[in-house]
Amino acid sequence: MQSRASEIEAGAVEPPTALQLFTGFLALGLTGFGGVLPMSHRMLVEKRRWLSDAEFTDLLGLCQFLPGGNIINLSVAVGLQFRGIRGALAAIVGLIAGPSLILIGLAIVYGHYENNVTLQHVFAGLAAAAAGLLAATALKIAAPLLGKPISIVIALLCFGAIALLRLPLLPTMLILTPLSILAIWKYRS
């Protein structure tokens, strides 16, 4: 499949403008309930055809490798690729502007009623469900660790250090990450 980005590189098609990048990611930010990732593929590859499937997978691979939210990083990478720093700013601001304003509105409402017992119960229920979603995410990403005892031990050490001992994140990561990488490197098949 001829990708849009390579057509653009060949000069056949105009790259998206900073304004188009802004509106594209603005719409994405406002439609992505419960995770923006599936929607971002639809927007970038199927609807606007800014990226081919392969380019999307490739860029997402980079974004998952780096720290930060995947979609946040993806917006920066896409914007930068087409319109430089201006494009990156347009894309990331577009992505977070809508949700930020909505959330501030909701926070103002929450602030007004936070001592209301009913609202407290609603939020306790909401947070209990959100904790469940997090637990499910953890279970899903933990599945590939089965049969890798060293990785399981490292995951448990990390959990214990952070959740039970409440140690700071930076030193915990500085110790456990190299250990984990070393273990994978040593026992890779």
Partner: protein
């Protein structure tokens, strides 16, 4: 006020560069800083903010915006957003240039696989901390367990599960 904003900037720019595996991995550290060290809000409030951000549209890490708002209003939103999204974005920009060279390097999949156990540990820690702050009754703990199971085993939309949890909270079982 300036000291407050400086503290927010420091905390969130560090978190920005530590968020390997996405935003959910830094929740425990964010909670430690915001609730335990600086005592800007209670653990219950922090969990409520996180839940609110999950139920609203947008990327995963919008709880950052809410913390900024809660602690220092509009200035707080601006500072936390810049600090949380700036450093990782600059890193993305820099890495984009080298990516073509490094994406096939032999060490890349090893490093990436090495980060997985850390991500698993951190996301599990996030789940426990959010649950601890909200599960004050057996009914609430049951919501957490049932939601985890449903989200793990079925394709139910997360919003349906969040709405279900909120509804059970509303009828007062909490």
């Amino acid at each position: 006020m300036i000291a407050l904003l400086m503290a927010l900037a420091g905390i969130f720019s560090e978190l920005s560069l530590l968020a390997f595996g996405g935003g959910n991995t830094i929740l425990p550290e964010m909670q430690r800083q915001v609730v335990e060290i600086h005592q800007w809000m209670s653990a219950r409030d922090f969990s409520a903010m996180f839940a609110l951000a999950q139920a609203a549209p947008g990327p995963n890490m919008m709880v950052v915006t809410l913390v900024g708002w809660r602690v220092a209003g509009w200035a707080g939103v601006l500072v936390t957003s810049l600090a949380k999204f700036g450093p990782s974005s600059i890193l993305t920009g820099i890495a984009l240039h080298g990516w073509k060279r490094y994406k096939d390097a032999p060490w890349r999949p090893i490093v990436q696989a090495g980060l997985v156990p850390i991500t698993v540990g951190l996301v599990s820690a996030s789940a426990l901390l959010i649950a601890k702050a909200s599960d004050h009754s057996i009914a609430m703990a049951a919501i957490t367990v049932v939601c985890a199971w449903l989200s793990w085993k079925t394709r139910l939309h997360p919003l349906v599960l969040l709405a279900g949890g909120a509804a059970i909270g509303l009828i007062g079982l909490g």
